[in-house]
Every structure is written in structure tokens, then in C-alpha cells.
Amino acid sequence: MGVFTGTGRLLRLALRRDRIKLPVWILLIVGFMGSMIPALKEAYGAVAEQAAYQQLLETSAIGRLFAGAPTEVSFGAVVTGETLLYFGLAIAFMNTLLVIRHTRHNEELGSSELLQSARVGRYAALTSALLLALVANTAVAVGLASVLQGVNGISSGEAWAFGLGQGLVGLSFAAIAGVTAQLAGASRGANSLAAMAIGAAFLLRGIGDIFTTTNQAGETSSLWISLLSPFGWLQQMQPLTAVAWWPIVLFVLFIAAGIGLSYVLLAHRDVGVGIFPARKGRARAARKLLAASPFGLTLRLQKGVFIGWAITAGIFALIIGGMANQMVDLIEDSEVMQQYIAGLGGTTAAVESMLSAMLGIVTLMIGAYVVQGMQRARSEETRGYLESLLATALGRTRWLLAHTIVVVIGAASIAAASGAVVAIAAGLAAGSPFAEWQIGVYTLAGLSYVPALLVFAGITVFGMGIAPKFAVGLAWAAFAFVALIGQFGSLLKLPDWTINMSPFAHIAAAPSAAIAWQSLLVLTAVSSVLLLIGFVGFRRRDLQTS
């Protein structure tokens, strides 16, 4: 039996298992691109607007961090800035999750052990996962290229270059995930390592774009450090402005090296065990694990999710605060940015207004934390841990309450800290006028978003009580909806009633606007009703068991 025996069968199995998940990923990515183009055409159709966009990138470091270095005045350049990196990020995550799901995660479920004892070779699982990634990336590349075909200002070749570049980014991260899947002690660790690699790659490229250099001919280029990142190569392809094909060589070499390394590492480890040794645990439970049961356990289970999102939100708040001055200069020069800020809830182009609007984006991210935290609770049930817990003297309400309280307090503390960090960073960056600003005002502003965040907890708990199988999907759909409205609601010119369905639409952008206490009360009441229905439903229903 060869080491690759059974690859084809495993690939068919993987395609079947992902028959919903992958098409949803691909359709969301391609569909979102399709909906972005008309919106961007409307906002940046004129040359003057396109020029303003490039000027924004020249003056704003934060703009370059997220959109890349300025290139040329054209519609293609705007589309590049607004989509290239974001879609690259999404595709990178699609790939790392996919590869680890079909390799290490399978090993933990025990199914790969079973399969390998049948007629399946040692390399078959990894090979089939990588082939599945190839299928998915090809679909994404073709989909993106098709959507861009015939768009005024983008040539057919450029459209294909865009799709190809994104597909190659996808494969690069599939290869990285192939490596992390062999290294980490478990699939969760493998996913974290892969996510760290994505973050590092994005950051390296971001640093390169923040510190751009301009040559004598007036051309701007990124610092060399960008070229250490697949995202940097994607930018260097300049798919929608001045297509260059040489980065493909870098991509191919990197992907080949990554995949080769995956196989070498795979040959040197046992099934279910990573290259990094598993650490030993405690022989006895620490007092804090048993404290106020089940709160000690809940804190332990929720710790990872909390820390991850707290750091993410903290970094974001730091950047926003630190870049405040540059951004205000820029906004005062750009009508488009003024529109954008107004859409986020800001009123004037003052620093305070800008910071207030940006605080709304940071707190929206905390919404994702709330959903993921509550998802952690739900997964306790689906993984079968809850059955053992509820067979002890622990009641259902107490258990769910512990998770809800830990997540809500976690969200409130991240929100408060984000406000404080924005104020401190802005103060440090700007000197005296900011130093006098009260950190408390911004902390309170951050806290004013808690009722909107509570709605996410309410939706998830409601789902857990009434329709447990759909709880997580429902909560993420709600989050995606709110995020989409917050980011693009005004750009896409959605009707007011749609925008008003987002809890964030009812939070005034403090401190620039006065806190709308009445709205906060209403949001809290809505959340409380959802939570109550969820808790009652959870008490009355069957536990979901294997």
C-alpha cells in the first residue's frame, strides 16, 4: 500500500463533508466582491474622487496599513485599496481553517485513525486536504475574475490577475496551515499558529506600506519588508493597475517549500501528536478552577477567547488613537472621508468626532467576541462535556448564567479598556491638548456600547434555548449583518429601516455626541427579553447528546 493510497476517496469525503461550508465561503467572498463594485463605482467614479483616494493613502499611515501604498489615479487603484487585502485576509482564513479541519481536527475526532487502519496511506489525509484547498482556491479565483470581467476601467487580463493573485495567497496559507498542522499539539493550537502567521504576514506588509519611500521620479514604493509576506507579493502583482507576473515565482516557490516541509514534518510525527511536545498538566485542580463552581471552570474555558479579542481590540484602539491627528488633516481635505465618517455616526470632522466614530468600529469587533464566547458555551453541549457536568449537582440555569456573565463582563471590560486606550494614545500622540482629555469620558463612551453587545449575547442564548442547532449560525449571521450595515450601510445606500435593525445604529457616537440613554435602556430591555426566553427554553428542552 502506497503512502498516498486512498487520497481520492478522502478528497471525495472531504468535498462531501464541506458541501455546505465551502460553497458558503466562496459565494460570500465572490458575492461580496460583486456587491462592492457598483458601490465603489458610485463613490469613486470620478477622477477627482479617485485622486482624493490616493491622496488619502499618501498622507495617512493608518490608511496605508489597511489599504496599501498609493499607486495611481484610476478606478482599478481604488478597487485595489478597498478590496485586495481584505479579500486576501478572508481567503487566507478560509484556507487555514480548511486544511486544519481536514488534517489535525480529523485526528482528534478519531476518524483519521479509523481511516488509516483501512486502506488509506500515511500522506493521504494531508494530500486530500491540500487538493481540496486547490479546488476551493480555483473556484474563488475564477469567481473573482468573472465578477470583475467587463467592469469599466478593469481589463480582462487584470481581472484574471486579481483572481490568480488571490488564489495564490490562498494556497500560500494552505501550505502554512499544512506546516502548523504538524507542529502544534492539537488542532486548536494549529489554528492559532496559522492565525498568528496570517496576522504577522499582514503586519509585515502593513509596516512596509506605512514606511513608504518615494524615488526621484515621484513613484512611491513600500519598504522591502513587505516582500517577506504573501500579502506583499499580492500587492506587487498590482493586478488592477500595472500587472506584474514575477511575484508568481515567489508564490510558487513559497507554496512548494511549505508543502514540502509539511510532508517532511508529517513523516516525523505520530497520529494525534504534534512535533511540539504536549505539555503536562496539574495532578490536582487548583483552587481557582473549583472556585464558585462553575465560575472557576467557566473562566478557564473562556480565557483564550477573551485574551485573543482583548489584544485585537487593544491594538486597534492604540492605532486609532495614535493616528488621530493625521486622520483629521486628511478628513478635512476629503469629501469622501467626511461622508464615510458621517456614515459611521460622526458629525463634524473634528478629532473628537473621528475618534468617536472609530470607537464604534472597535466595539463592533467586541461583538464578534461576544458571539464567539457564547459559541464556546454551546460547544460544551455539542462536544458532550455538558452531559457530565449536568449529571452532577450543577443546574442548567447556573451553568448557562456563568458563561453569559463571564462573556458580558468580558465584553464590558474590553469596551471600557478600548475607550481608555483610544484616549491615552491620542493624548500621547498629540501632546497637551489631548493630555487634558479625560480618559474617563472615553471609557464611558466605550461602555455605552455594552447594551448593543448584550443583544448579541441575547441572540445566542435565545438560539440555545429555542433552536440549539441554529444558535451559532444565527448569532454569526446577526453579527455579519450588523458589521455589513455598520461598514457599508451608507455606502450601499440601504433604506433606514434596514440600518435601524442594527443595535449599533441606536448608539450615539460618544463622546462627540451625547450618550443616548433612552436607546441604551431599550437595547438592554430587548436583550433581557431574548436572554429570558433563551434561559427558560434551555431549562425545558432535551440536552443535545451524541
Partner: protein, 303 residues
Amino acid sequence: MRIVAADEIIKIQKLIKKFGSFTALDELDLTVLDGEVHGFLGPNGAGKSTTIRVLLGLLKKTSGEAQLFGQDPWKKAVELHRNLAYVPGDVSFWPNLSGGEIIDLLGDLRGGLDEKRRAHLLQRFELDPTKKFRTYSKGNRQKVALVAALASDVELYILDEPTSGLDPLMEEVFQQEILALKSQQKTVLLSSHILAEVEALCDRVTIIREGKTVASNTLAELQKQHRTVIAVETQEPLDDLAGVPGVHEISAHGTIVEFEIDADATDNVIKYLAGHHIDTFTSRPPALENLFLSHYDTSDKEA
């Protein structure tokens, strides 16, 4: 309403549990007496785990009666659980917690565990408590759940196929530990497929199939309901053997005639054979395997 006698720890009558249109339990009966080890048997999918989950208040019954210590397990789940310890059929715990942490955690949630028993069981089962749960093998995962349950000083132990991953040495340790509990008058509900284990430990057994109770009695009584196999050589031909009441399945192998007899036909058959000059005579009591197979087999209407 208390429908149970004082010594009935578990009392289930006409229990029905439906999942949508699927009927998992169909008028199931089960009675477990104080101080007994009760075997709970049945083919896969018969409803053993579902019954246990109703008893634990994890699933809500559709109709019928289910009482634990004379109380409703759905309404009084938290109070009742202080008096019992449970080993689930599919042991899964938090992968990044150590075995020792999980044992302490479950013990604490149950209201404390016996330190001496904890140490004793870890040593008997040769379990390393410092390993993360994800790194344990299947057998060791089961040991974590077993130690956590058996280290608790409670009245009732509900064990759902607790030894399916244990090696024979550990199986032996398990049996000794259950016998120790039995000598302390503890009550055990043991769902199992391992017949030797059932034979060694159980006072009474209940056999279920497709959500219904098909037999419930002591092992000796159950065996009585089944046929003994007789093989004889006689000098005179046994031409009219088929006419003897209680004789079945006659077959000839050379000079040996083999047949089965009902338990209550023994006396008649022996008298009949005695009149035919017996040369050799062997009898096999009903094998436990056959007993269970006849109850498990859905095509067998005799049960």
C-alpha cells in the same frame, strides 16, 4: 407522588421517550433495588443510554413514570445528583484539562470526593493524572471518568458501558471495585455488553430491545427459562423421542443424539431416557451468550 417502595432506588414504569416521530423508549420498565448491582443489557440502539439520560434529567420523558430515590429526576435534578455518580457511555472532556483536574472538578461539583479513595483508585487503575485529557487513549479516558465517579461517596452509581475500552487486567480491577461497593450496600446500575462482567457482578438484570423491556429477573431465573442441551448415546433407538413433551431440535451425529429440553421437562426426559439403556450422557446448561442472543435477536419471537 411516590410510587416506589422504600427499597426501590430506581422505578421506571411504561416510560415513553420520543424524538420527533422516532420512539426511542416504548413503555419501558426498570426497577433497581437498594443495594443491588443491576445489569442493564440490550443491543446497540435499544435505548439504554436514553433511559439513563431520562433518569439523570438530561432528557424529558414523553410519558410514563420515572423516579429516582422516589422523586422526579427532571424536576429535582440538582438535589438528586448529589446522591449519584455517572460514567457516560461516550467519555469526552475538555482536551486541555488534565485527568487530575477533571476528577477534582467533577467531584467538587458533586459535593466533594473521598481523598483516600481518589488516591487508591488512581493507583489501582494505573492512571497518570498529569496528562492532558486529549493525550489519553480510549481506555485511559474511561479510567478518568471511572475514577471521578467511583471516588465519590454516593448512594447510586450509574455506569453506561464503563469498561468497553479497558484491557482484561483493568477489567478485573473494575470488577473488584464494584464488588467492594456492593459489600458497602451501594446501588449500581451497570449497562454492559461484557457478559462475564454481568455474570460476575450483577444480582439482577434487565434486558431491553427496541425501547421495550423483554426480560427482567435474576440470572438464575432467566437461565431457567431457557433450554438445556442434552447429548446421549443409548443402546435402544430413541424413535419416539419427538413425542416427549418439552423436547425440541433433535439431531443425530453418528451414534450421538442431541436435543434441547425445557427446564420443566427434565424429570420426564430423564425417565424416558432411562428406559433406553444410556451409554453416555452430557448436558449443557443454557449458555449466557445464547440467553442474550435469543433476547437480542429481533427475529426471535420466543423472548
